[in-house]
């Protein structure tokens, strides 16, 4: 399942920071790649409606989400765009079940098959009554995913979903993400500063640097494997040796 996300002449200004982008995406899974501070999170906040762009026009399929010149803006709770931030922001006062059910559309029955299959895909049956504080890093990540997906979003934004996890956990969660891609089929935008995660997950990659979109293409055209199992930007795209890619944590 894909949807068309159009970011027309979008400009973001945050003090001295500036990002300009003009792109139309057919999202199955689109990766946004770039160093920290490049503006990836800000861009995604704007898509979710959590921040205002200074200029530009944002549309998802037929719906105009924001149009600065014409003063049009849909608030986040009406956009049906799911967002899993880097720090997850799970609700500490609700248990796992409460978190996941928070965004369930009113018309949906809790016992609907989709809730059950979501729990099954992400392996959360045993955790439903746990408190958030009692979960491990990988478990929290999966709960955050389930919470976002249970609200039936038409686009899912994932901000650095594997940051802070050790290698085993990363592999584990990545497996779940692949499973979700296969069985849940929701369009995704995936942000990371590490190439290996998005290399086989994403259909298309956008590389952002210095407030601009510098290149877009398929993963195979943009990343190459390095000696030790690590991916990096093709040399042709690196401006300086320091910008060669990071290794695995």
């Amino acid at each position: 399942m894909t949807s068309r996300l159009a970011l027309r002449q979008v400009e973001i200004g945050l003090g001295a920071f500036h990002l300009a982008i003009d792109v139309e995406l057919q999202t199955g899974c689109v990766g946004i790649f770039g160093p920290s501070g490049a503006g990836k999170t800000t861009l995604v906040e704007i898509i979710a409606g959590l921040r205002h762009a200074r200029k530009g026009h944002i549309a998802l399929d037929e719906d105009v989400l924001a149009d600065v010149e014409n003063r049009k803006w849909i608030p986040p709770h009406l956009r049906r765009i799911g967002y899993v931030p880097q720090d997850l922001a799970l609700f500490p006062h609700l248990n796992v079940r409460g978190n996941i059910l928070y965004g369930a559309p009113k018309t949906v029955d809790v016992s609907e098959p989709s809730f059950d299959s979501l729990i099954e895909i992400l392996g959360l049956e045993a955790l439903l009554d746990r408190r958030i504080a009692a979960l491990s890093g990988g478990e929290r990540q999966r709960v955050a995913l389930a919470r976002a997906l249970n609200a039936k979003p038409r686009l899912l934004l994932l901000d650095e979903p594997l940051t802070g996890l050790d290698q085993d956990r990363k592999d584990n969660v990545l497996e779940y993400l692949r499973l979700l891609r296969q069985r849940w089929s929701v369009p995704m935008i995936y942000i990371s500063h590490q190439a290996d995660e998005m290399a086989d997950l994403c259909d298309e990659i956008l590389v952002i640097r210095d407030g601009k979109l510098v290149v877009r293409g398929r993963a195979a055209d943009i990343f190459e494997p390095a000696e030790r199992p690590a991916w990096r930007l093709k040399r042709t795209l690196c401006v300086s040796p320091e910008q060669e890619h990071v290794e695995r944590a």
Binding site: L50, G103, A148
Partner: protein, 224 residues
């Protein structure tokens, strides 16, 4: 001087104790909704003139209580701007009003710190999950920050219990009607009834203990 009855509580003393307690609780209750709402706005939003609002809220903390009492008296006196609308001065209601004004900054502070510490991320995520701003406030913002809000309310109540300067100007020291524990104590000291003042002080301390213990119990409920 007849001090043999100094260590007994009179009916007026009983009235003062009940009045002090009831007014303090009432003051905090009245302050809660507007205080918490304002705290959320101060924590999350900016607008032109925000620092003026912050200063106004902090005034009762910074001004001498007597000054605040004088401003209230000017406002609420029968020949003042609000005097025709509400009849409050020199009745028990003035005690609650003075306490509410003096305690308001504590409610706002406690709640604001709690909201700031919790950050707006959970609220943002809740919005993306389809919750309207009102639903977000009641189902996410408040429950996450209730401990800071409660701590602020306990502080506000403690402040109200001990309030003197503002109360005495706007409510008077009318034994059996508006006299509080503080004003009765002060009266006792000025007329040489030191032991009776100490008795009331002991009761004040007992009330304070009860309040703080209740607050601790509330806050000790396991973190969700």
């Amino acid at each position: 001087m007849d001090s043999s009855s100094d260590l007994q509580l009179t009916a007026n003393d009983g009235h003062a104790i009940v009045l002090t307690l009831v007014s303090a609780l009432l003051a905090v209750l009245v302050d809660l909704a507007p205080g918490v709402a304002l705290a959320w706005l101060l924590a999350r939003k900016t607008w032109p003139g925000k620092s003026i609002v912050e200063t106004l809220v902090a005034l009762p903390l910074v001004l001498p209580p007597v000054a605040t009492g004088l401003l209230l008296l000017d406002l609420l006196a029968h020949n003042g701007p609000l005097g025709g609308v509400v009849d409050v001065v020199f009745t028990w209601k003035a005690v609650a009003v003075a306490m509410a004004v003096m305690s308001f900054p504590f409610i706002v502070r406690g709640a604001r710190l709690a909201f700031e510490a919790a950050g707006d991320r959970p609220e943002q995520v809740a919005a993306t999950l389809g919750a309207s701003p009102l639903r977000v406030f009641f189902s996410i913002s408040l429950p996450i920050s209730w401990r800071g809000i409660t701590a602020g309310a306990v502080m506000a109540c403690a402040r109200a219990l001990g309030e003197f300067g503002a109360v005495v100007l706007v409510a008077g020291n009318i034994p059996g009607v508006t006299a509080t524990i503080s004003t009765t104590m002060y009266n006792d000291i000025l007329t040489g009834h030191d032991e009776h003042a100490l008795l009331l002080a002991a009761i004040s301390i007992a009330l304070a203990f009860a309040l703080i213990l209740t607050g601790e119990q509330l806050l000790r409920r396991a973190l969700p």
